[in-house]
Subunit: 362 residues, 2 copies
């Protein structure tokens, strides 16, 4: 089958989201013939030498990119971050223990709901009253909490934790939308989890990074598949893993490494975000939707001062091959997701559309 020729779009989707062009080419090729086996990667045993090497490289790249020490185990599971909302407390929280939450909207809200099945929940701080346009900062973490849960980046509202609390209580963090986008001090974290489909790969695999010291203390029976220890013991191969999503995630991590690692990603991400936020702040037709100090470098949310022009602006974007810019229904306006794989050239195209639109409409 010949591939239809269509101009490549500038992809601002929030997730599943843009992946590096070279990764897509390698992924497509591996579906026809993987590792010169004469077989597709979709139709080989997960226990074949060639696929075992893929999983091992994915684990090793995760450890290298995030500078993990031997206390941390790396797992590739399924079920998305939404499954970690209950798996984290099921595995970590004793029934009489207390977990603290920082509520930055949507995903935190959902995580809080699930934790209530497993122990005491203390919502330490929330930005709900301001419709989650900021990140709460004024709180103290009780020293007797089992752990504190945070969502590092909120894809819906476009806010991001640019620092994490100073505390000896382990942080459990949903990093679905900013993993591998910047260096982090992993020693603060007891558990990090991420749905892959933003900065890490395609939908269908969930990365778990867990400090082994936190496991085995919940005191409750756990179904085999939901016990982190099951998957640690079997190197994520207790059952058939999502082979292709893991493969593409591994390719994406290789790309991050080849492009300078997470520190280099952070510099590029800062430059892209600055380019776009500067235009939002300078352009007379647009304004940001979040507190400036809490702005996300991954999901840039903005709106028009005159909302009647929104449809016309989205049309102008589409005419310039910029797609995926409609804001989440709970915020409105626009959202430009500019993850690792997004080139600054695409952000420049969007900025040019904004400038041009303002010139023609003011």
């Amino acid at each position: 089958m010949s591939i239809p020729i269509t101009k490549k779009k500038h992809n601002f989707f929030a997730g599943p989201a843009i992946l590096p062009a070279t990764v897509l080419k390698q992924a497509s090729a591996a579906i026809e013939n993987f590792s010169n086996m004469g077989l597709s990667i979709l139709e080989i045993s997960h226990r074949s030498k060639q696929f075992v090497e893929v999983v091992e490289e994915a684990i090793s790249l995760t450890k290298e990119l995030l500078d993990l020490d031997d206390n941390y185990e790396v797992l590739f599971l399924t079920g998305g971050a939404s499954s970690q909302f209950y798996m984290a407390p099921m595995n970590l929280l004793p029934q009489d223990g207390t977990v603290c939450y920082i509520n930055t909207g949507t995903w935190s809200d959902k995580a809080i709901k699930e934790a209530k099945l497993f122990g005491n929940v203390n919502v330490l701080a929330s930005s709900k009253e301001s419709n989650y346009t900021s990140i709460p900062k004024d709180y103290e973490v009780p020293t007797d909490a089992t752990y504190i849960h945070m969502t590092s980046n909120n894809t819906v509202f476009g806010t991001q934790h640019h620092s994490f609390p100073e505390t000896n209580v382990p942080i459990v963090c949903d990093m679905s939308s900013d993993i591998f986008s910047r260096p982090i001090d992993v020693s603060k974290f007891g558990l990090i989890y991420c749905g892959a489909q933003k900065n890490m790969g395609p939908a269908g695999v969930t990365l778990i990074i867990v400090n082994k010291d936190l496991l085995g203390k919940s005191g409750r029976p756990i179904p085999t598949m939901l016990d982190y220890n099951t998957h640690i013991t079997k190197g994520s191969m207790f059952n058939t893993p999502p082979t292709f999503p893991i493969f593409v995630s591994m390719l994406t991590m290789r790309w991050v490494k080849e492009n300078g690692g997470v520190a280099a990603m952070a510099l590029k991400n800062e430059a892209k975000a600055k380019l776009l936020y500067d235009e939002i702040d300078a352009n007379p037709m647009f304004e940001g939707t979040t507190h400036i100090e809490d702005r996300s470098l991954m999901n840039v949310t903005f709106k028009m001062k005159n909302t009647e022009k929104e449809t016309a602006f989205l049309e102008a974007c589409a005419n310039a091959d910029c797609v995926g810019l409609k804001g989440h229904r709970s915020v409105g306006g626009f959202r430009a997701s500019i993850y690792n794989a997004m080139p600054i050239e695409s952000v420049q195209v969007l900025v040019d559309v904004m400038k041009d639109f303002a010139n023609k409409n003011t």
Copy 2:
């Protein structure tokens, strides 16, 4: 990237397993440009019109191929059949209810272990004493059981249920390795589940077919992501689904339909299995490992009368481009998995290798 030219292998892997060549070509093309969007299928929103159409077609094809009535809901989740070992009793079995199991080895064993967390487990019949070389038939299903659980085809031992018990108790069935391989009377089943990676698609998606009448009766709190009703209400889109595995499964179902549906698959599968079993029975060097009446049409297990020749035979297979034939470690010998997508021509190649090997070695 040019795709290296390698001769296509005859793929007898047990799973992840062979997929139709046309499906692989379409899958590969969609990774470069899906639905002429100028985007990869890996990087588009699961809520985009184009992907919603994929899920809707996958659901509709499942209903059409299996002739499901409106009592049944079709879900595409993750976690594999191994996750259904606990999700089925968690959703269906009250704490004081009893579930019956027919133990045909490996997968049944694992399913039994998980159910014990949720209610009373009654193993009605087992072929454990004969190392699972047969399917138990001599049992009665208690009329007060909540449900009875069966594994329709055992990939490891190469046995298959060629009929299901006459009972009014709903059957819950793991059909991971023979879904869409033959017509079934779905009205006997309360729940059918399948990991995709044998007859249905690549690893990373799990098909669930559930009779709605059985839900909401367990009386226990269930985490949101583990409640079948969550996913029924949201059409498998409560959270980001495994988009690419669903897409490839949909393509494979389309292929089944275009090739005559499950009745036509059954005829082809019977012909392939007959060709191979006839050779096993006729060839002086080989013998089958299961009771003849319980032989699987999907996973043909056999061994050599003189086990010292096994390595040489596997080499002869490899020289003829036949791969994936080593038996499971708990059975030994050989296993030829001949799922829907396996052409009879590939089975003939294997049969020819067996004949040739016998000619040269006897």
